[in-house]
């Protein structure tokens, strides 16, 4: 059974801007699935429909048509079941003013039907380096700590599907690395993850598959390496036995031998060869501009 199945999801909004069209199509029939234990990256420029998609899964938005299935159950027909399976880290940082970190996590546990969740909360606080701050109010936390608190909140009920809406936006390099490590740990413990991100390096490092969304449409789904080889280029620097150097840029998918043959260089003449692999970023830029 798939962890998540999005089927022909459409969402239209009434535009608030009277100068533009009255109806804005945020999602134009998006379909994909996330397998159990998989990290799926959703990439797309601002306004592509990533957050609308996440909101449709969590029921914050009602889709215009189509449906979403979480572990086989429809979010429209059985939201009480699907909500329990999902943990979500929203894009914007929250600033709850009344309660401290520990209280927030206990209330959050209660919302998911768990009483006395001390053990899990203490584990998450330790794991996310928040244990020393458990009695602080949110406004006393730094930006990075607030992000980690949001992740802890999403995990208090041990969800089977985790939705991360740009979890590392505005986060320093060190914290980003530690969050990546934690996300991989979650994956290894069997959690399925949907990750939206602007950081292509993040998608490349973490995701088993990526989907590229642009203007409300999913334009590509595949493994990051597959996307790179199809849509990016690689740079090949060759030094031959006679001391000459050559530099070629060609499709990442094309075999080296073929490239050398095209440039009339025999493989036996090659003294040294360096290949700079294409980046997902390049493929992504190419795809959203198609």
């Amino acid at each position: 059974m798939n962890a998540l199945e999005v089927k022909n999801l459409k969402k239209t909004f009434q535009s608030k801007d009277t100068r533009t069209a009255l109806i804005v199509e945020a999602l134009k029939g998006v379909s994909f699935e996330i397998k159990h234990g998989e990290i799926f990256g959703l990439l797309g420029p601002n306004g592509a429909g990533k957050t609308t998609l996440i909101n449709s899964i969590t029921t914050l938005e009602q889709p215009t048509s189509g449906d979403v299935f979480v572990f086989g159950e429809s979010v429209l027909k059985n939201p009480q079941f699907t909500k329990k399976q999902i943990g979500v880290v929203h894009q914007e940082v929250i600033n709850t003013g009344f309660f401290d970190v520990d209280e927030i996590l206990h209330f959050q546990s209660g919302f998911y039907g768990i009483k006395n969740n001390h053990e899990r909360i203490d584990y998450l606080l330790a794991k996310l380096s928040l244990a020393a701050h458990k009695h602080k109010k949110v406004k006393q936390l730094s930006g990075g700590m607030k992000r980690r608190l949001m992740i802890a909140k999403a995990l208090v009920h041990s969800p089977r599907l985790l939705l991360l809406d740009e979890p590392t936006a505005g986060v320093d390099v060190e914290l980003r690395e530690s969050l990546w490590k934690f996300v991989l740990e979650l994956k290894n413990s069997g959690v399925s993850i949907l990750l939206t991100t602007h950081y292509l390096e993040e998608a490349e490092k973490l995701c088993d598959r990526v989907g590229i969304i642009n203007k409300g449409q999913l334009v590509y789904v595949g493994q990051p390496t597959e996307v790179i080889s199809k849509y990016s280029t690689k740079k090949i620097n060759v030094r031959t036995n006679d001391g000459k150097t050559y530099s070629f840029i060609d499709s990442a998918a094309k075999p080296i031998q073929e490239i050398l043959k095209e440039h009339k260089i025999s493989f036996s003449d090659v003294a040294d060869i360096r290949i700079e692999e294409g980046k997902l970023e390049e493929a992504f830029t190419k795809m959203v501009n198609l």
Binding site: T58, T59, L60, P79, Q80, F81, K83, K84, I86, V88, H90, E92, V93, I94, N95, T96, G97, F98, F99, E103, F107, Q108, G110, F111, Y112, G113, I114, K115, V138, K153
Partner: protein, 257 residues
């Protein structure tokens, strides 16, 4: 049941965190009203029913404290959540809309009843000092009925307005232009018997008039309305406002301010 109880606990804990603003300040207001209107001016006001003005004023102030604080509790909770952005936590959690409405309603009733109870105790002290005896409660069960229905009606109104409101202005417009005039014209400070026929008829169209006078009846044993009419009106208002609050949860805005 745990999500529902947790939300009630959160709603009550929230106002205890800011108790000066949520409980002590309304009680000080009531104390000042009792001192100025009840004791100082009240001695020169003669009530047609034979009661002194302080006895008339105390139930009115209790209801005013009850409904204002019930309204404030649910609406402030939602509005502050809209500011902080954690309103979405409730929406994405496995809590039904009815559970949210009832839990926030109970939170409002709890705060409103607490303010109302303390206002009543302060009123009793004033009454004892003035009359040498305590003001007795004629119908305690009716008092409980009007406390619960009044609290729920205004908690539900608070949920409705806070979810529907898109700006802080819209929320304060409801408080200033609807809630406040209805409260003052509903008979907190005055008996409608003293009004001219036009305003008397107009006040009978105010649902708060039935709540305030129903509660007054429960304390004094008499008021400006038929008690059965007051009971039916408040029951209908409770049902109507419950569905208004549910509607607001379905159609209202969860977006961050």
């Amino acid at each position: 049941m745990i999500p529902f109880l947790t939300l009630i606990q959160r709603e009550i804990s929230r106002f205890f965190k800011v108790i000066i603003q949520t409980v002590l300040s309304p009680i000080l207001n009531s104390f000042l009203y009792l001192l100025i209107f009840g004791v100082s001016l009240g001695s020169s006001i003669q009530m047609g029913s034979g009661n002194n003005y302080l006895a008339f004023l105390i139930p009115g102030l209790v209801v005013m404290g009850l409904i204002n604080n019930a309204f404030q509790n649910s609406s402030s909770s939602i509005i502050t959540s809209k500011f902080s952005g954690d309103i979405e936590d409730i929406r994405v959690a496995p809590i039904t809309h009815s559970q949210i409405v009832w839990a926030m309603g109970i939170g409002g009733v709890f705060r409103g009843s607490l303010v109302g109870l303390i206002t009543f105790i302060v009123g009793e002290i004033f009454y004892y000092v003035q009359n040498g005896e305590l003001l007795s409660i004629a119908h305690p069960f009716l008092m409980l009925f009007f406390t619960l229905t009044g609290g729920f009606i205004f908690s539900f109104c608070g949920i409705f307005v806070a979810f529907i409101a898109k700006t802080f202005d819209q929320l304060s417009a409801f408080t200033s232009f609807i809630l406040l005039p209805l409260t003052y014209l509903g008979g907190v400070f005055i008996s409608t018997d003293n009004l001219n026929p036009f305003f008397k008829a107009l006040s009978h169209a105010n649902p708060l008039f039935y709540l305030i006078n129903g509660f007054r009846y429960s304390v004094l044993g008499h008021s400006d309305v038929e008690i059965l009419v007051a009971i039916i009106t408040t029951l209908v208002a409770t049902v109507v406002t419950f569905f208004m609050a549910r509607f607001a949860l379905l159609r209202g805005s969860y977006s961050r301010w």
